[in-house]
């Protein structure tokens, strides 16, 4: 069959089972848009900014577990997409981004809308391709999806020159299989390593499971839950891992790290055996490395060998799909041989009784924590919650206990403000019957506001929970604690009227200024099943995120709300920021 490159590309995407593409047209991709126009099985979502397209594809991928797909034009289309690509890369999200490129004969001539897409994205993709021939399109697309979705997932860019999309060639169909000598993501779990791990686990008197994003991305939630229940061990989860193990289970100690619970961080610090599951010892987790887990033997489970020993030396590493490794552990573990850990639990319960998540309410102001708790109540804990970046993100993670994986969608690794709204749109398209809430802040929401327009066009009703503290709150918090309250550029003086703004985009806007109005407003908002509702909630402008490990400190040096004076961090801590 004779087809042009663009038609071949669209057929390939169809064959991959792609149902949604998020994109934005331009000169270099007009042939692709022409081919998409007659394709009835793929819905194209026309975003308002390419960064929005990539975040939406990302939210779609995180929610569904499928590969997200975005399509952008050359030059500024591609550069706009870069933040989205880097966001997906840092959090290991499977994604294929197709970008147009100038015609191959003019590459390198500073042609109109030419940028070196492969060069610009190289350090923030799992892999990228430049395709200059229609003949190479099908195999490249096959490779791209294979690479993006296997091993440690990540975004793959396919940069296609315009002439390759125009050329007509004989198309032999989408390849069924692909083999690459330089990429073999399948790994067998090493039985020897399992044995070594079990020997440590059997001796543990103060064990803890530390689970990360890999448990979510690797669909290992069931196995993780089984292992935790079988062993009776306490479990703590990272910002990226929330939901893989139910937060409301009594074995869950909550989140760990900079804004984790007291019991999680103290248990990590005192533990003699840490089972790290799909986690990468990020600096927001470890705090000061010199003070990190001084007594523990560490077992590290990960699909990516380069994470082993990258930050923290470990005693046993087990490379493999998290799910496979956990299954192997479950099968090989004789729970009768485990040490009695009653006294460990007693210690943990003492730490729990400190109630590190307690916060003081104040007459006449709405506490942001209350907003999240009310959101949890109103949605019965069943919503998908996306978030932006800042204090509101931490409160959402702390006060909305996630019991299922893929319900908590946030930019953990890159910390990209602007992620929340387009990600919510992607999440809603992936799971249309579920309530989707975007917890955002007055700063973050203004970074991707334009997507309100897309959300109207494609009917993706989400509930925007704007924690409006009138500040770049997280920046203000750091300036309060660590820069002697020199508030430099953390206050925005001219916020828009968010209610009118939402209305002007065709959505519903609600302003909440009194705590008594909070719950009724949220109930009303979630009743509006098929409308996007922007709930602008004026919250305590001075509230800070607690507990907190100031950078430079260890897990056992947490500071608690209202109980500890936030001492200025030390110089080495400031350098770590």
């Amino acid at each position: 069959m004779k087809l042009n490159g663009a038609q071949i590309l669209v057929d390939c995407l169809k064959s991959e089972g792609v149902k949604h593409i998020f994109g934005y047209p331009g000169g270099a991709v007009l042939h692709i848009y022409d081919a998409l126009n007659v394709c009835t099985v793929i819905d194209h979502i026309l975003v308002r900014h390419e960064q929005g397209a990539v975040h939406a594809a990302d939210g779609y991928a995180r929610t569904s577990g499928k590969c997200g797909v975005a399509l952008v034009t050359s030059g500024p289309g591609l550069t706009n997409a870069v933040t989205g690509i880097a966001t997906a890369f840092t959090d290991s999200i499977p994604m294929v981004v197709v970008s147009g490129q100038v015609p191959s004969p003019v590459i390198g001539s500073d042609a109109f809308q030419e940028v070196d897409a492969v060069g610009i994205t190289r350090s923030c993709v799992k892999h990228n391709f430049l395709v200059k021939n229609a003949d190479d399109i099908a195999e490249t697309v096959k490779k791209a999806f294979y690479i993006a979705t296997t091993g440690r997932p990540g975004p793959v860019l396919i940069d296609i020159t315009k002439d390759a999309t125009i050329a007509e060639i004989e198309y032999e169909g989408y390849p069924q299989t692909i083999k690459m000598r330089s990429y073999q993501p399948e790994v067998q779990v090493d039985a020897e390593q399992i044995k070594k791990a079990i020997a440590i686990i059997e001796k543990a008197k103060k064990p803890i499971i530390y689970s990360g994003g890999g448990s979510v991305i690797g669909n290992a939630s069931k196995a993780l839950t089984t292992l935790t229940h079988n062993t009776g061990f306490p479990i703590t989860q990272t910002l990226m891992g929330l939901g893989a193990f139910p937060a409301t289970d009594k074995q869950s100690l909550g989140m760990l790290g900079m804004h984790g619970t007291y019991e999680s961080n103290m248990a990590m610090h005192d533990s003699d055996c840490i089972i790290a599951v799909g986690a990468r010892f990020d600096d927001r987790i470890t705090g000061n490395l010199e003070k990190f887990c001084p007594y523990a033997k560490i077992i590290h489970i990960d699909i990516d060998p380069s994470t082993i020993g990258k930050v923290v030396g470990v005693d046993v590493s087990i490379i493999g799909q998290v799910n496979d490794v956990l299954q192997a552990l479950i099968q090989s573990l004789d729970t009768k041989k485990l040490e009695n850990i009653d006294s460990w639990w007693k210690q943990i319960n003492d730490w729990r009784s400190v109630d590190s998540m307690a916060y003081r309410t104040k007459q006449g102001v709405i506490k942001p924590q209350t907003v999240i708790e009310t959101l949890y109540e109103v949605t019965k804990g069943e919503a998908i919650v996306t978030s932006d970046v800042g204090q509101h993100q931490m409160w959402a993670a702390q006060y909305y206990p996630f019991d299922k994986p893929r319900r908590w969608i946030n930019s953990g690794g890159l910390g990209t403000m602007g992620f929340g709204l387009p990600a919510a749109m992607g999440a809603k398209l992936a799971d249309p019957d579920r309530d989707v809430a975007c917890v955002t802040g007055d700063g973050s929401i203004q970074m991707m506001l334009q997507e309100l327009s897309t959300m109207l066009q494609y009917h993706t009703p989400v509930k925007i929970i704007n924690i409006n503290n009138g500040y770049l709150g997280m920046v203000r918090q750091w300036q309060e604690f660590f820069y002697d309250k020199r508030y430099s550029m953390s206050y925005m003086d001219a916020l828009p009227d968010f209610v009118k703004l939402a209305e002007s985009y065709g959505h519903i806007g609600i302003k909440v200024e009194k705590e008594t109005d909070l719950k009724p407003a949220l109930i009303e908002a979630f009743k509006q099943k098929d409308r996007t509702v922007f709930i602008d909630i004026l919250t305590d402008p001075t509230e800070n995120v607690f507990p907190m490990i100031p950078s430079g400190a260890g897990h056992h040096e947490m500071l608690l709300a209202g109980r500890d004076e936030m001492a200025s961090t030390n110089d080495s801590g400031l350098n770590l920021v």
Binding site: L130, R181, S182, Y183, P305, S306, K310
Partner: protein
């Protein structure tokens, strides 16, 4: 410690920049890097000399292995291996220094590959250490130009 890392990678546009980019992005040090096609035209061999402690070298190897274009990574330093580097150096000569220089070239098994009225172009091959020693043995003020290829190397044993 100094390590010689041999990388077999797909002979594709951009593969070199992926490796170079990895080193700069992660702050790994490169002393030298050479690359050329092998007997299999679809494969290139890259030889990288880097300095770092065991942890860093382990990270370098793992990060290289993670690159999609990379087929195989060998830390040559960990096995019996041969390393070679080629030096081209142009120096001033005059009748007073000539005899001395000739003797040094001989001692390092070098070759004079071009002679002009008052210059020599010399070629020396061998381990980098030997090349350093040869250069040190010359009068620095007489050296006009130095060009070194960087290290290439192979394992001594048969490999499959």
């Amino acid at each position: 410690m100094r390590h010689i890392i041999s990388v077999m990678l797909e002979n594709e546009a951009g593969a070199l920049s992926r490796v170079a980019g990895l080193f700069s992005a992660r702050g790994f040090n490169i002393e030298s890097l050479t690359v050329a096609a092998t007997n299999d035209p679809t494969l290139s061999r890259m030889t990288i000399v880097s300095v770092g402690d065991d942890n860093i070298i382990e990270q370098i190897v793992k990060q290289l292995e993670k690159l999609i274009d990379v087929v195989k990574v060998i830390d040559l330093t960990a096995t019996e291996h041969v390393e070679r580097e080629l030096l081209l150096v142009k120096i001033d000569v005059n009748p007073n220094t000539q005899a001395d220089i000739d003797r040094q070239i001989d001692q390092f098994s070098g070759k004079i590959i071009d002679v002009s009225e008052d210059t020599y172009l010399i070629e020396v091959a061998g381990q980098s250490k030997k090349i350093n020693e040869f250069l040190d043995s010359l009068d620095a003020s007489k050296i006009l130009e130095v060009s070194r290829t960087g290290v290439t190397g192979v394992c001594q044993k048969r490999e499959d």
